[in-house]
Symmetry: C2
Subunit: 201 residues, 2 copies
């Protein structure tokens, strides 16, 4: 680029900066958000863990409850259990429903996890509560969506709540403040790769 | 559900489990993946930080280089700087291009960041290298995509590399093993909310 191009670019960037400042000045609302990560793509849970890291960087207190990871060894579990002062990390499920193959046990486990979730959300000690894979349990009607949505409507607005998992129910999307759909563009499974440590679990 | 429904469900789940086991047995490849997080939705960087956490849980060594966050205070920066033993965390940019308003300075900063990125990728000490917001720099042609893709083609296959940022170049998507597109379904900005600590930064 020539000197002149550079000058033009810099002038344009100055206008972009001004427009952004104006836009940001209009954004004044602040309260805890209800966040949903859904869709078939990879990254829904890891993005929630990343927000946990960001929150810790601001001195916030974080609770993570995993609904369906069961007794699996995962990277996040190893990490948070090895660093118990960072976040309150609990795993409630017994595995995916195709692992347990027992509907009654799934329902009981999901019910216990939901009671624990409510306690976390109501506990003033926490600023950020992550309910990992709750959407799976709702999709399968292992917990009734109406009851969950009713509780979330009346949640304390002083904290963020993030719910992950594919196939989020429309009732939940309707209530949420921030929804990201994770789209799979290319997945190494299709090329014959195994699930990779650090990436998928 | 009746006893009979439960039994039917359990039998179906058994078949699902068998099909999954068969599918997984066919996935035998294992090597470092080139991962791209792109799209307009929220969560691209936080998902990369979440994979860093997972990797740490498996004893892997992680390096994170941020291209455009500049001198901003962010949650991830606060966290990783307060816990320097966890990951190698470096911030190279001077802010978004509309903050610097100086094309020549942007190019010099991006070049320095890319030289550092190559060193990280070639360093056998690291198992996972995250180049946060590199896509932004490539989109603006602040670095030449051909040079970056040529280097990545010949990268060591013993480690994962994750590149984030919207508007990923087609040449990069072509080379990548795992691509997720983050779609914005609902964003609190539009409802007048400020960017929230722990969520957006």
């Amino acid at each position: 680029m020539s000197e002149e191009d550079f000058a033009r670019h810099n002038a344009r960037m100055k206008r972009v900066a001004e427009a952004r400042a104006k836009m940001q000045a209009r954004r004044t609302l602040e309260r805890g958000l209800l966040i949903v990560h859904t869709g078939p793509g990879k990254g829904k849970s890891s993005s929630a863990f990343g927000m946990a890291i960001r929150s810790l960087g601001w001195g916030m207190k974080v609770a993570i409850l995993q609904y369906v990871k069961g007794k699996w060894e995962t990277g996040e579990r190893n990490f948070f259990e090895a660093n118990p002062d960072l976040v309150t990390f609990e795993v409630m499920g017994e595995g995916f429903t195709w692992d347990t193959q027992d509907r009654a046990r799934d329902i009981a486990a999901a019910r216990a996890a939901w009671e624990r979730s409510k306690a976390m959300i109501l506990d003033p000690a926490f600023d950020f509560v992550i309910l990992d894979e709750l959407n799976i349990v709702l999709r399968d009607d292992t917990l009734p969506i109406a009851e969950i949505v009713d509780f979330l409507k009346d949640r304390p607005l002083t904290k963020h709540v993030c719910i992950t998992g594919r196939n989020a129910k429309p009732e939940l999307l309707e209530l949420a403040d921030l929804v990201t759909e994770f789209e799979e563009v290319k997945h190494p499974y299709r090329a014959g790769f195994k699930a990779q440590k650090g990436v998928e679990y």
